[in-house]
């Protein structure tokens, strides 16, 4: 996962936002549940109060012209069945107390009709819910107005409300936790393609410039498209610059060859020793330039080919022998003897012939170049997996501080100022070795003279 920590994270934002939504929904759920449930319990209490008051009103009767009431047992006992709340009642006849708690206020009636009216007020130290039911009664030719008030404290209601609050809180918290867990899971899931894409891009090698073909959701298609476009342009730019180098090297090498031929011809015709010396120097410079151009060409080729290796089975012994054969004439000029030390058994390496030949030739070329005249170079193949192609010379060797940076591009040893070189030879060797899953090893011999450069290759 390359999603940066501490910086903005899509997943975190998703989870936080979803959790916020879940929290909002939980709170909304909590309040709506409470409101609905409390309305329901209040309505229940109101209904029981109204039933109680109505049953008292129904028990009104006239006895010899006097209005009386026989409060039914059930009128008050029904209020005691639901909760242990305090109960008060008050029956008024034409504004005068007939019976009951004469200080119990009558709820304000806003409107007319026989519908029960409700009110909530403080009575005898407790909040009570009260109902009034009105009746008109005819006694001895006179119409009397009767009001029946029944009131009950709300402690039972408060207990139910507390229970509802507890339940609603529990449900809200569980809902929130579940929603948050699900959001985390969903965010993880939704971002999985992104992680897969990042992984696919991360896993490819530094020179892998193929377009990304991983399956991606539509939201990522523009990103992948952009990425592939970028890769295309990068590849095109790289190819152009490699082409340019190849072209440049070619264009330099061809005229240089002409210049060299001409210079040699002139050299033969020159008689004055100082002129001949000058021309030899010129030829030498032309040789080095040509060699540098050649190496630039080789390097560009290695870079291009290592992207797409054309592998085949190669005998590393053959490689060594071939390189020695090719460079023997050059070595002979300096009276350098090359000894070839190959094992008896045949070995085989999976690799690109042209690249491997190039690499071996570069090592050997280096060895010849930095070896003093009349010395021996040993080319040895050590079998095994990996197998080792060692080229050991008796030259000046590497300075220990140079060894690590030698394979860098255009990096040359600090003790070779007098020898012309491009600084590309070991870079090519290293690139080839790495393209084949192998390595380049440079050992400066402990005696202070001679170096051993080894190409390590996976072998079977």
């Amino acid at each position: 996962m390359t999603v940066a920590r501490g910086q903005s994270s899509i997943r975190r934002r998703l989870v936080v936002q979803l959790a916020l939504v879940a929290a909002l929904l939980s709170v909304a759920f909590f309040f709506s549940l409470r409101v609905v449930a409390e309305r329901a319990t209040e309505a229940t209490q109101d209904n029981i109060l109204a039933a109680s008051a109505t049953s008292i009103a129904d028990a009104l009767y006239t006895d010899a012209g006097v209005v009386r009431v026989e409060i039914p047992y059930s009128a008050l006992s029904m209020l005691g069945t639901v909760s242990e709340d305090r109960v008060f009642y008050h029956v008024r006849l034409d504004g005068e107390t007939l019976t009951g708690y004469d200080d119990l206020p009558v709820p304000e009636a806003s409107g007319t009709g026989r519908d029960p009216r409700f009110a909530t007020y403080l009575y005898r130290g407790d909040t009570v819910r009260a109902v009034v039911v009105r009746r008109a009664l005819n006694a001895a030719g006179q119409v009397h107005r009767v009001e029946v008030v029944v009131a009950q404290t709300r402690l039972g209601l408060a207990a139910i409300s507390a229970r509802i609050t507890t339940t609603a809180t529990a449900i809200g918290v569980v809902f929130f936790l579940a929603a948050t867990a699900l959001s985390t899971f969903a965010a993880q899931n939704a971002l999985a393609p992104l992680s897969r894409l990042a992984e696919a891009v991360r896993r490819r090698g530094p020179r892998d410039l193929r377009p990304v073909t991983a399956e991606t959701p539509t939201e990522l298609t523009p990103l992948v498209g952009g990425l592939n476009g970028f890769i295309d342009r990068l590849r095109a730019a790289l190819t152009r610059s490699e082409d340019l180098i190849v072209e440049a090297a070619h264009r330099v090498r061809t005229p240089l060859a002409t210049v060299r031929t001409q210079a040699e011809m002139v050299h033969l015709q020159m008689e004055k020793p100082e002129n001949r010396a000058a021309l030899r120097q010129m030829i030498r410079a032309v040789d080095e330039s040509s060699r540098s151009a050649g190496q630039l060409l080789d390097h560009a080729m290695v870079t291009l080919r290592s992207d797409q290796l054309e592998t085949e089975e190669i005998d590393p012994g053959e490689l060594l022998r071939d390189a020695v054969d090719r460079l023997s004439p050059t070595a002979d000029l300096k009276d350098i003897a090359i000894t070839l030390d190959l094992p008896d058994m045949p070995l085989s390496v999976q690799g690109d012939t042209i690249l491997l030949q190039n690499a071996v030739r570069n090592i050997l070329d280096n060895a010849i170049k930095y070896s003093p005249a009349d010395t021996v170079i040993t080319a040895r193949l050590v079998p095994g997996d990996p197998c080792r192609l060692e080229i050991r010379d008796q030259g000046r060797g590497f300075l220990p501080e140079d060894v690590a940076r030698m394979p860098e591009r255009f990096s040359r040893g600090s003790n070779v100022g007098d020898v012309v070189g491009s600084g590309l030879g070991l870079t090519i060797v290293r690139d080839v070795a790495e393209a084949h899953g192998g390595a380049l090893e440079i050992i400066s011999s402990s005696e202070g003279s001679g170096a051993c450069v080894t190409l390590v290759l996976p072998c079977c």
Binding site: R68, E70, I71, S77, L79, R86, V87, F88, L98
Partner: protein, 340 residues
């Protein structure tokens, strides 16, 4: 001199404040400084063993005042007398005290262990359950079948006016709180109540203030039967009163709960709470049950299928305290029971 006058005035005021009537007052001193003032309807003799057992556990001085249930109501509801505990057999009045805000809330492990029908609003706590029974004179029933329900009783009374004329006793519900409670519960529970009252009225039923007197009259043979007698009193008398028989009706048995509450004016509510806990645990003290003859509250007695019905604590009890309702009930009852 001035001080003496002031003291005189104060004591005068104090005695004036005692407008309610006490029947008896006993003091049980204790080494501690705490004092518990109890206003109760239960006889001091009956309650004495409980007080002594309580004092063995808690060093609290106790004043035990006995008054009728109506006077208990007057003391607490109207005069705001300072008592720490009110014990009464009048469940309706105790309920009214609690409903109207004259009782303090109290809860403890002991009260939590009480069955739900034995307490109300954590203010009224029952500690005895006392059924209303029929007490018979064994001699009078030598040749008669013992009635098992109210219909049977009505038939028996109708068929044998010679045996029962002037020899039936029951509570005068106008003066007895327990009698009124039993009568109103009967009227609620059965249609036969008014017919029974009619029949009893025609036979010249004698009215009593208290269970003890009725039991005595039955034992002496003055009464052939007494209706709605407190079973606990009758049972307590059974061992040394050979002539009486106790009958529990099988249609239903009203069970009165003797309850305790802490009045709002209590000055020692903690001691009162200790006494309530002690009373709530009465069933665990067989020695006290034997000494007092009080039947303790036992959970399971309120089971629905049982004919034993503890009178339900709650606002329903307020109904028969309603002025008009009480007037109506008493008028009907008086006109039924007093026919000559």
């Amino acid at each position: 001199m001035r001080h003496a006058c002031l003291a005189l005035l104060l004591s005068l005021a104090a005695s004036l404040a005692h407008a309610f009537e006490l029947e008896e007052s006993r003091r049980y001193p204790a080494p501690g400084s705490a004092e518990l003032r109890i206003l109760s309807t239960a006889d001091a003799d009956v309650f004495e063993p409980i007080i002594e057992a309580f004092q063995a556990l808690y060093p609290i001085a106790i004043t035990y005042d006995v008054a009728s249930s109506a006077q208990v109501m007057v003391a607490l509801y109207e005069e705001g007398a300072h008592y720490d505990l009110a014990i009464s057999s009048a469940m309706d009045l105790q309920t009214k005290l609690a409903n109207d805000g004259f009782a303090q809330r109290y809860s403890s492990d002991a009260t939590a262990a009480l069955p739900s029908w034995a307490k109300w609003r954590d203010r009224v706590f029952a500690f005895t359950q006392e059924p209303a029974v029929l007490v018979l004179n064994a001699e009078a029933f030598e040749t008669l079948e013992v009635p098992t329900n109210r219909e049977g009783l009505i038939a028996l009374l109708r068929d044998h006016p010679d045996v029962f004329g002037g020899r039936i006793g029951t509570y005068d519900v106008r003066i007895s709180g327990a009698g009124y409670l039993f009568a109103t519960q009967d009227s609620r529970n059965t249609e036969s109540f008014w017919r029974l009252t009619e029949v009893m009225g025609r036979l010249g039923t004698r009215l009593y203030c208290c269970s003890a007197e009725m039991i005595d009259a039955v034992a002496r043979g003055e009464l052939a039967l007494a209706y709605n007698v407190l079973g606990s009193y009758a049972r307590a008398r059974l061992p040394n009163t050979p002539g009486i028989v106790i009958v529990e009706m099988d249609d239903f048995v009203s069970v009165m709960l003797r309850t305790a509450l802490i009045p709002q004016t209590a000055q020692a509510p903690e001691a009162a709470g200790q006494m309530i806990d002690f009373l709530a645990g009465l069933r665990l003290r067989p020695d006290l049950l034997a000494a007092t003859g009080l039947p303790p509250v036992v959970s399971g007695a309120g089971a629905d299928e049982s004919v034993i019905r503890p009178i339900r604590l709650g606002p329903g009890l307020l109904v028969f305290l309603d002025r008009l309702r009480r007037d109506t009930f008493l008028r009907s009852w008086v006109s039924s029971i007093e026919q000559e």
